[in-house]
């Protein structure tokens, strides 16, 4: 994995996520945290953008933030769940991280 | 009764420290001797806080008491008699809850 993209903004920042996804390579990973977890839900709004992510790029969501907002049941199948420890591991596996906000 | 436990206005800082004995101490300081009737109302306020995360204002406390304890007790007069002026503020103080937000 080269770059871990960290996205913590809601759907009001869709232009920012679009740029993030356009910037990603297929070796990168993307994790949704804080208000960004709404992107990990299964909905017309989110699938449109997430569908544009590079094929092999891993897409993750932080379980603690997802659960706090009551969205665990709505999670999209294409997104993998990690907890704080998993987030740390992803960070360690990547050469660098890029926070989008 | 240290300043660590209470804020400047005498409200308990940490709601988890509350217990009935502490309620008696707070009430005594305010010149109120707690009876079973007082504790019923205190319980309603604590339940309200538990459910909504809010300290009820007077009008809403009256409503909540009415729902839980019936029409007779769910009146401003009844609460005023037990807890004096601004009953919600006094109830919250004795119940170890934060000061109601919209208290004027």
């Amino acid at each position: 994995m080269t770059t871990l993209h960290i996205f913590n903004q809601g759907t009001l920042q869709s232009a920012l996520l679009q740029r993030c996804i356009e910037t990603m390579s297929h070796k990168d990973a993307l994790i949704f945290i804080e208000d960004g977890v709404v992107w990990a839900t299964d909905s017309p709004l989110t699938s449109q953008l997430l569908g544009k992510a590079p094929q092999n790029a891993g897409i993750y969501v932080l379980s603690e933030d997802l659960g706090a907002r009551g969205l665990s049941e709505l999670k999209a199948e294409s997104v993998a769940v990690v907890d704080y420890n998993g987030f740390v591991e992803l960070t360690e596996q990547s050469q660098n991280t890029l926070s989008w906000f | 009764m240290t300043t660590q436990t209470f804020d400047k206005e005498g409200f308990l800082k940490d709601i988890h420290q509350w217990n009935p004995e502490l309620a008696n101490v707070i009430a005594e300081n305010e010149g109120i001797e707690l009876s079973e009737e007082h504790f019923e109302v205190i319980q309603v306020a604590r339940q309200f806080y538990e459910e909504f995360g809010l300290s009820p204002v007077n009008r809403v406390l009256v409503k909540a008491v009415k729902q839980q304890l019936g029409d007779e007790k769910g009146s401003s007069m009844y609460l005023l008699k037990l807890f004096r002026e601004g009953p919600a503020k006094m109830v919250c103080k004795i119940a170890g809850l934060p000061k109601p937000n919209n208290c004027l």
Binding site: G10, D42, E64, A68, R69, G70 | F48, P56
Partner: protein, 120 residues
């Protein structure tokens, strides 16, 4: 003096910022003065109303349960943008309180009728 029509618009997701909690406080404060209070939840503001969720793991006080007290405070006009709800795959049964899904025309109308508007 007749009651003023106050409109509170929620557009942001909970917990990332304090807007939701601040908005709730403002609504409750307004309700004490017997004003005509309306709430609109739109865009990510709809996530303020999700029934489920537990903030224990993120160490933030869950202000959302305060919205469930709105009825007790005499606030009962709560509108949600139906299209935004649909776009997010959220149904009424997933909301913590009975809110009325409305179209954009109704929202425009509500904004026009308001005497004062507060956004969160």
């Amino acid at each position: 003096m007749s009651a003023k029509r106050l409109l509170f618009v929620f557009s942001n997701s909970p917990f990332g910022n304090a807007l939701g909690a601040e908005g709730l406080d403002a609504v409750l404060a307004a309700s004490v003065f017997d004003q005509d209070v309306t709430l609109i939840f739109q865009l990510d503001g709809i996530y303020q109303l999700m029934k489920d969720g537990d903030t224990a793991d993120i160490g933030i006080k869950d202000h959302r349960k305060g919205f469930k007290a709105l009825e007790m405070y005499g606030v009962d006009t709560i509108l949600v943008d139906a299209m935004d709800m649909e776009a997010r795959g959220i149904t009424e049964s997933q909301l913590a309180i009975p809110a009325q899904p409305v179209d954009r025309t109704k929202i425009t109308e509500t904004i026009h009728q308001a005497d004062a508007i507060f956004t969160f």
